[in-house]
């Protein structure tokens, strides 16, 4: 569905990507993680045709994003970190914006608005930042585009809204849809994404499905000094030592995305070694 091949991209003199390749398939929710300024947003903007690669190619459903053809734009919706919504009600959004998307569903939009507790008769100006963001997410989901790109979607959402967000996104996925969520707030994506891609310094540092991660790695809290020393990664916490070790028993543990992320950033080779066998 999305094929990024040998992507090179730079902002004037600052090189962001130097030959990045990636394939994203429908039916999955991808978590694009990485530190600030590592190129997560830039990658989403390249995929959506808002930025053009210096070298390499991107294909989304067989179309080049930079051409910005209607057939491409009807199938890609981006919820950017900095977004704009005109000062109209969500109801007017259906009248004037939805007709551009052939697969838009009013029922779904109303349903998502209800889930997010957004009043349909309120104009955007009278809404809070979080409410506006949830309106845009609802609209993006209701457009039923094959690709839904979200850049830091949980920024500015309160705790309740974050949990509503997870519920709504999990319910919206189907086998034809590819959802890519870029964030540095890894905790927000736990139990939502099914594949994790970590970008650092313009390269893909780690790219595995959640299934594969829990099959190969074991997450636990340990008080045993020997176990901690033998772990692929460990960090101390108030509850004890959080460790990641090889999953030798086949027993599934609860994946801690934040710890996994830190372990890959800090001790990448240790973690990668578990996947190379």
């Amino acid at each position: 569905m999305i094929t990024v091949n040998n992507l090179h991209f730079s902002y004037k003199r600052k090189k962001v990507f130097n030959g990045l390749s990636l394939t994203l398939q429908p039916g999955h929710i991808y978590g694009l993680l990485g530190k600030n300024g590592t190129g997560k947003s830039t990658l989403l903007r390249n995929i959506s045709g808002l930025l053009f690669p210096d070298e390499g190619s991107i294909l989304v459903n067989g179309e080049a994003p930079r051409l910005r053809r209607p057939s491409f734009l009807q199938n890609v919706f981006i919820v950017p970190e900095e977004f704009y919504l005109p000062d109209i009600t969500p109801a007017k959004l259906i009248t004037h914006h939805a007709p551009f998307y052939p697969a838009f569903s009013k029922e779904q939009f109303d349903h998502y608005l209800r889930e997010f507790e957004i009043p349909a008769d309120q104009t955007m100006q009278s809404m809070s930042y979080g409410q506006k963001k949830k309106t845009l997410i609802s609209f993006g989901l209701a457009c039923n585009t094959a690709v839904l790109l979200m850049d830091e979607p949980t920024n500015g959402l309160d705790i309740m809204s974050k949990s509503q967000f997870r519920k709504v996104i999990a319910g919206a996925l189907d086998e034809n849809k590819c959802i890519v969520i870029s964030t540095h707030q890894v905790k927000d994506l736990e139990s939502l994404i099914d594949r994790i891609t970590i970008i650092d310094d313009g390269k893909i540092l780690f790219d595995q499905t959640m299934e594969e991660i829990t099959r190969k790695l074991h997450f636990k809290i340990s008080f045993d000094q020997h176990e901690t020393a033998a772990a692929l990664y460990s960090e101390s916490s108030l509850k004890g030592n959080i460790i990641i070790s090889r999953n030798t028993t086949g027993e599934e543990s609860r994946l801690d995305l934040e710890v996994l992320y830190k372990s890959i950033i800090l001790q990448q080779s240790n973690i990668q070694s578990a996947f190379q066998q």
Partner: protein, 258 residues
């Protein structure tokens, strides 16, 4: 999938632009009606004597048409100077030509038509009020509509230049477009000046854009381009600017990144 030009999508875009900016448009037009009414009131009220020259009102027409029109045209693609608004604009599923045409419809059709309509109505009301007094004399020699055609010849290419400016520059688009037009105008004048200076000797006087009169002492000569070259050049100068500027806007939009 329809990737070619679609009139139904164009109509959707025109409607979308109107409803997205309805409040701003309404307030701006109301402000313009207020200002024009005030100017006409001042013109009628402060006129000394009972003679009113209707042609004065054409000056008022031009005085507001050009700057207000340029500001309006310059805001057409200003969204592209803002990452959030620009993303929204670029991601709307429509072809670039449909999006450009929507801008053209607003800047080159809706604005001048609405402005002229509002102006004519206020003008007619003012003239009617003036003629209520039987001692007043309202004279009108020149035809408003034929003057309008001449104004349009300058207005439309300049509007197109401001449309291009709104895409070309990232910030302070209006000021930068004005400066760019002034610089291009000055460079053009300098080229003509040095070209004619190198071709002709003695004192020079331009009879028109295509005819020069020179004289040295009592010797005076007139140099003119042949009739067909003059006609072709005039046609090019009158009609080529707008399409050239709009094509440049199209390609600039096509390459726009945010």
């Amino acid at each position: 999938m329809q990737n070619s030009f679609s009139f139904s999508r164009l109509w959707l875009l025109i409607k979308k632009q109107w409803f997205d900016n309805a409040r701003l448009y309404l307030l701006s037009w109301l402000a313009l009606v207020g200002v024009l009414s005030l100017v006409f009131f001042c013109w009628a009220f402060f006129n000394t004597g009972n003679r009113y020259d209707a042609e004065d009102s054409f000056v008022i027409f031009l005085l507001f048409l050009f700057p207000v029109g340029f500001i309006f045209a310059n805001t057409t693609f200003q969204a592209l100077g803002n990452k959030a608004k620009g993303t929204d604009w670029l991601m709307v599923p429509a072809t670039l030509s449909e999006k450009l045409l929507t801008g053209i419809v607003y800047a080159l059709v809706i604005f001048p038509v609405l402005y002229t309509g509002i102006f004519v109505v206020i003008q007619l009301i003012t003239f009617f009020l003036i003629t209520l007094n039987p001692h007043n004399n309202l004279s009108q020699v020149r035809d408003f509509w034929s003057d309008l055609k001449i104004a349009a010849m300058f207005f439309i290419p300049l509007q197109a230049a401001f449309l291009l400016g709104s895409v070309f520059f990232q910030r302070y688009t209006f000021v930068k477009t004005v400066l760019a037009i002034m610089i291009i105008g000055a460079v053009y004048a300098l080229i003509i000046h040095f070209l004619t200076r190198s071709l002709f000797s003695g004192h020079l006087h331009f009879n028109s854009l295509f005819s020069v009169r020179t004289w040295e002492g009592d010797d005076s000569k007139i140099y003119s381009l042949t009739k067909w070259v003059t006609e072709v050049s005039e046609w090019v100068l009158k009609y080529i600017w707008t399409p050239v500027l709009l094509v440049a806007t199209y390609f600039r939009l096509k390459e726009k990144e945010l």
